[in-house]
Symmetry: C2
């Protein structure tokens, strides 16, 4: 290894280590750190963050990158090192464009705004939140100017979460999706064959729910020696490192499947992080390649596998054994009851079909903010109008409307599309998997989930950030992202359930 | 504030923040971090430690200290800043003598060795642990050479945990203690009045134990909004910051008081850390002043208060309410049964009298390692011989012999004496408290523990590292550490219980 490469690798490893330490601190804050310690802890996080920022924007790193990109060095780099240099270059160029003071201002503002948001959501008080939101929009616009604009301003934000994605592609993809799903949802709601759901009400012991969730995670191949499951108000998955991947869930005593599908969802994220190739461990390539691909895995496991009929044909009996209340509910009733499509107000409670419409609404609004100058003060009105138009529902308050999500208060504009991209990637991957493994559904029905995990590891997980989202989808499915697979999957599945 | 003081304060705060981050990482490792992630986590700990080490040994800090120690600046410093400079000087002088590579090697080795020890203890496999232990001894010896030796090599280690303590003093103090306790223990074991203990056997629901332990912690004044209680194989307390102090415990289903006394013990440590003065928070003075004083607090609460007759006169009914098995056991029987003196193999299960002998054995062995060159491979033999000699018992395996404690695997040589020092400090403090608050035992019997916590806060807790152990003991009790208070306390208490 050249001296130069060695130094570069060393800095990169250190950045990764700071990321891990910070991830532990955040995990701790979210899983029960004592209230009174939070202020001091935030300062510790601030200090480590600043240290990491310093490392990732140092002149030394810039010089090392330039040297390694030179013809001499580049040709001698391994494939991994080439990708590591290329990805670090992208992160570096993006980070150095933001003056530390602006970054600090942004961090302080979004930290305050997240707290403010929680309060305003609780009090249904958009007016008090509006000025924070407008300030975040303004700073984000400043940053867009510093980062630079290619086609549209919003593209610059999208690229952070889904490298290579832009408004031009998304308009087309989301347009197709919307045009197919809006009429499909209407057909379903006017069907005479509405699934029965009353059996879902009741009291379901939480320890037993946990036991069943653990069992399902084990079936998926989650490695409990390289991960753990805890509880938190807002469930999440976090890969501290590939050998320590944690998920959290939130149990509801009156709902037998809410926590379970959450566990399968976060479990999908976790399988991705746990199965990154050994050769990438310790580098910043050892994580998911984009938010969209990450969501494709959580949603693949939660919806395509976890809400499928073959899955319940296999695993329902284990649930019935644990909850005697379900003794007289047959598997078909249970399956259909867990696949109800119904337009609703709250994204995180939406079914897998209308969920996409929630995302498209947010996408269109974010575009309006950054490409057309929509102001924070006008958001509630635009929001409510779009919910009426796309889902036929009317928020009775901003708390269940424009204030429902945390993302904007944290400055995460451009993130929302990842969720719908995830659904589309997942369906497209499944289409390919069905050809590559024709008996995949027989396997699910037999409780053999490992071949599926292995296929995903072989084609996706092991690569971490070694392949871009586009390289993955085209390499695996032989075509670019295409919404028709999700549309076909949803149409087929729900036509059967609702007997269209 | 002068520029110089400002810079010094900033570095000190940063060191404290790194300490907090590291404390979270250690806490996490010990309360259930996934096994497979430990190696990578160790490297993260190594990196943060190195960073903290760099900060605390920087030339800049050295220059700032020299400047602040100069006549001009010194006289203008507040009492807190003077102590902060003085304590930092001690830490600095000690730290700069260790080359960063050696420090890093030490941190990595001890982190790995702690895990190895756990495995080896479980498998009763001293042979596999021996080479780790010898390496830790070797590095420690290297460090002793770098730190420098005054009277004996072992003094250099003792001074880390109990500033001002040395072999000369300890030989005298421990000698007195041993000479009083060995015959006392013999008298007790030949008494006709052995306490009844059969009622302690049984099955005691763990959730109920936890509930009772939480109740007792609340009674002691533990602030659950500034702390939490978890489970770990080896119970400990850790003050991440004064607003986030955590303890752990280990429940045994067949023992109703083992976890409870552990909780009271760690709770004592926690009260110390939670009640450090506000003005010290954020500085490295915001922690206990020495391990001996820290142990005096855990042992004060566990033994002097928690194993006293007045305590159980008040709190036994709450235990009986929770465990119907105890319905027919009266409080006197319960009190005596929890104060059995019996030579045994395991330190952490020992009674408060013979406990001191377990410590004296370790003290003598550590002295042999560092002052006489005893090798790791010879430890089991020496260990077993001393247990025979002092306690008349023979370990049937290394797991219940030399492998029982975690300390050596973490490199904490010189730490053990703190426990016996703690017992002596505690008894001496209690002697003074009984004069200052003549109705202290009536208060305990009435469940009024807060005045006691407040007295300890006023005289000890609030000062953090603002006073040395010697300043505390002499300031509060008007004499230096004197083993007679512990000897008197034990003699009186156990003569009554065993009707000597």
């Amino acid at each position: 290894m050249t001296k130069c490469l060695e130094k570069f690798r060393y800095i990169n490893q250190k950045v990764k280590q700071y990321e891990e330490a910070l991830a532990v601190l955040y995990w701790d804050l979210r899983t029960g750190a004592p209230k009174k310690g939070v202020d001091i802890r935030s300062e510790v996080i601030g200090t480590l963050n600043a240290e990491m920022f310093k490392l990732s924007t140092s002149t030394e790193l810039g010089e090392l990158l330039t040297e390694l990109e030179g013809k001499d060095q580049w040709s001698k780099l391994s494939e991994i090192d080439q990708r590591l240099v290329a990805e670090t270059r992208k992160d570096y160029d993006r980070a150095v464009k933001i003056p530390p003071e602006l970054n600090h201002k942004y961090v302080m503002l979004t930290t305050q705004a997240e707290n403010k948001w929680e309060e305003c959501k609780e009090n249904n008080d958009f007016a008090s939140f509006e000025s924070y939101l407008q300030q975040i929009i303004d700073i984000t616009n400043e940053m867009i100017d510093l980062w630079g604009v290619k086609e549209t301003r919003y593209d610059t934000l999208l690229d952070q979460y889904e490298p290579g994605m832009d408004v031009k592609q998304l308009d087309k993809i989301f347009g197709e999706l919307r045009d197919a799903l809006v009429p499909l949802a209407e057909k379903l709601s006017s069907s005479e064959h509405q699934p029965q759901t009353d059996f879902l009400d009741g009291q379901f012991d939480i320890a037993t729910q946990k036991d069943y969730g653990t069992f399902i995670l084990e079936q998926m191949g989650f490695d409990f020696e390289a991960g753990r499951m805890d509880e938190s108000v807002h469930p999440f998955a976090t890969g501290l490192n590939a050998k320590d991947v944690r998920i959290t869930t939130r149990y509801l005593e009156d709902d037998v499947t809410s926590a379970l599908f959450g566990i399968i969802h976060e479990g999908g994220h976790a399988l991705y992080e746990q199965n990154i190739g050994e050769e990438l461990i310790g580098t910043t390539l050892a994580t998911g390649t984009s938010m969209g691909i990450h969501e494709s895995q959580s949603r693949f496991w939660e919806n395509i596998i976890g809400r499928s009929r073959p899955f319940w044909n296999r695993y329902y009996k284990d649930l019935q054994e644990r909850f005697s209340q379900l003794k007289n509910v047959d598997v078909d009733t249970f399956y259909r009851g867990n696949n109800v499509v119904e337009p609703s107000l709250i994204r995180i409670e939406a079914d897998e079909l209308t969920y996409n419409l929630h995302i498209i609404i947010r996408y269109e609004i974010e575009k309006m903010i950054f490409n057309e100058g929509l102001k924070a003060k006008d958001l509630p009105q635009v929001w409510n109008k779009k919910y009426e138009e796309y889902l036929g529902v009317n928020p009775s308050s901003d708390a269940e409307g424009v204030l429902q999500d945390v993302h904007w208060s944290g400055g995460s504009f451009g993130y929302f599309p990842s969720y719908a991209l995830g659904n589309m990637y997942a369906a497209q991957f499944m289409h390919t998997l069905e050809s590559a493994m024709p008996d995949v559904w027989e396997k699910v029905e037999a409780g053999e989930l490992q071949p599926i995990k292995e296929w995903l590891t072989e084609h996706i997980y092991q690569y971490g950030r070694m392949r871009t989202p586009r390289e993955l989808i085209e390499g695996i499915t032989n075509e670019p992202l295409n919404p028709k697979y999700l549309i076909n999957y949803l149409t087929e599945k729900y036509s059967e359930i609702y007997k269209l």
